[in-house]
Amino acid sequence: MAERMGFPASIERVESLTPTLRRFVLSAQKQTFPPVSPGSYAALEFEDGEKVYKNAYSIVERSEDGRDLTVIVRLAPQSRGGSRFLHEKGRPGLPVWVGSVANLFPIVKTARRHLLLSAGIGITPFLSYLKKLRSVGADYTLHHFCRAEERPAFEALLADQDQVRVFVHTELPSEVGLADWLQDEAIATHVYFCGPEGFMKWVEETTHRCGFAPGKAHSEHFFVPEGGRPFEVILARSGRRVAVKADETLLEALEQADVDAPCMCRGGACGACAVTVLDGQADHRDHVLTEAERASGNVILTCVSRAKTDTLTLDL
């Protein structure tokens, strides 16, 4: 059997930030974790004895000696169980497999100014950004948006930061005048944003309206794959049929059936899990495929997307 890629680790410390946010420090059990650039995520795997959970989280910090990784996990209401399990059972000592570390949301090193916009748990990639940007003397500003009751928690998270560069808002972006601020940015500014879908859509539309070129607007959609209508996949190479239940993803169903399906970020952001569709219609939920690729109808990202038809035939 091929050697399993990744790093065995366990939970070292747990800290409750708010009723829905918890910080977990993971400690490497053998070798140290690889160097981590700001904006990276880690694909974590953990189990409760019955079910194996695989979720990707932004890395907030890697300790200097490489022994520890810190992530913050939000209790997701439509969770398929991973975040709920970590919140309820994620205690020190729990084994966690760190499957892969990658960066789909890096800092643009050539940018003259960095404008960071986050909402809710979307702040996590920026916690590592802030440390780096401050250490190199970069020009940056963070505007963070959250609910009023969460304000103290986020202010505490940002307490060590340069206070003239970080702002926490409890009003909506449209109410504080973010559109005007965006419009007033210098031409050399790069904007980065991360948060829930409604926030992402607003920032995408507003930056576009202000004339930010696509190369100047960078985003990371963290998103919890949601369930949906059950369907069945037919694996063309073997003729096998795999049922995808309402509360599991296509990728999870394939893994459950011991199918060797590719994957990396597990959140519709990297494109590594793309598989050829031979028959049936995909319900695309990713942020990777172009309109043309969607229209072609012959590719699907298994980690988040589902089927509009009762069956989907894949080249697997």
Binding site: A188, G211, P214, G215, K216
Partner: protein, 181 residues
């Protein structure tokens, strides 16, 4: 054969831009195609000392390329997000506009370069750093070190020039000549 040329293509107004600036080396160069925005500025080089600066108009005449490039650098350093820059002219002019824009932090979707007028290129001697403007052939004699240079397809965006390198035998001859005088 691969080259690292600047991305040239016929100019079209970008509807996603909020302000538009078209710089051209010559008044004969046509405006970008597509729906013309209500407001856009045109900077044209007149190659004349009789030109006076009038900054409050949308149709600005410049004395020379050097004048235009200097004012462009100043303008871009104060520019806000949303500007689209279009440039038309000879390859050396486009190269210099791209260099100024890169220096000001513009990216691919913010600067558009027309198909260049003419084939003259700017060539950088890799042996002595001398820059040559208006090179039309594939070979030249370097004005700095007299090496016979062949122009490579390697374009440097930072220098705004193609690399000119001497063939090894030629370099050896030149070095020997320099040593033994």
């Amino acid at each position: 054969m691969g080259t690292s040329e600047l991305p040239y293509r016929p100019l079209t107004f970008d509807p996603d831009g909020r302000r538009h600036l078209f710089v051209r080396e010559n008044a004969t160069q046509a405006f970008p195609e597509g729906e013309q925005p209500a407001v856009f500025e045109v900077w044209t080089i007149e190659h004349s000392s009789l030109i006076k600066a009038e900054s409050d108009t949308c149709d600005v005449r410049m004395r020379s390329a050097a004048d235009l490039l200097e004012r462009l650098a100043y303008r871009l350093s104060r520019e806000k997000v949303g500007l689209r820059l279009y440039a038309a002219g000879r390859p050396a002019f486009l190269a210099q506009v791209a260099k100024v824009a890169d220096g000001a932090g513009l990216c691919g979707g913010e600067i558009f370069l027309d198909e260049p007028a003419g084939f003259e290129r700017r060539v950088f001697c890799v042996h002595c750093d001398t820059l040559h403007d208006g090179v039309s052939g594939d070979t030249l004699v370097c004005q700095g070190c007299a090496t016979e240079l062949s122009v490579r397809d390697h374009y440097s965006r930072a220098l705004g020039a193609y690399m000119g390198a001497g063939e090894p035998a030629v370099v050896i001859e030149a070095m020997e000549a320099a040593t033994h005088g």
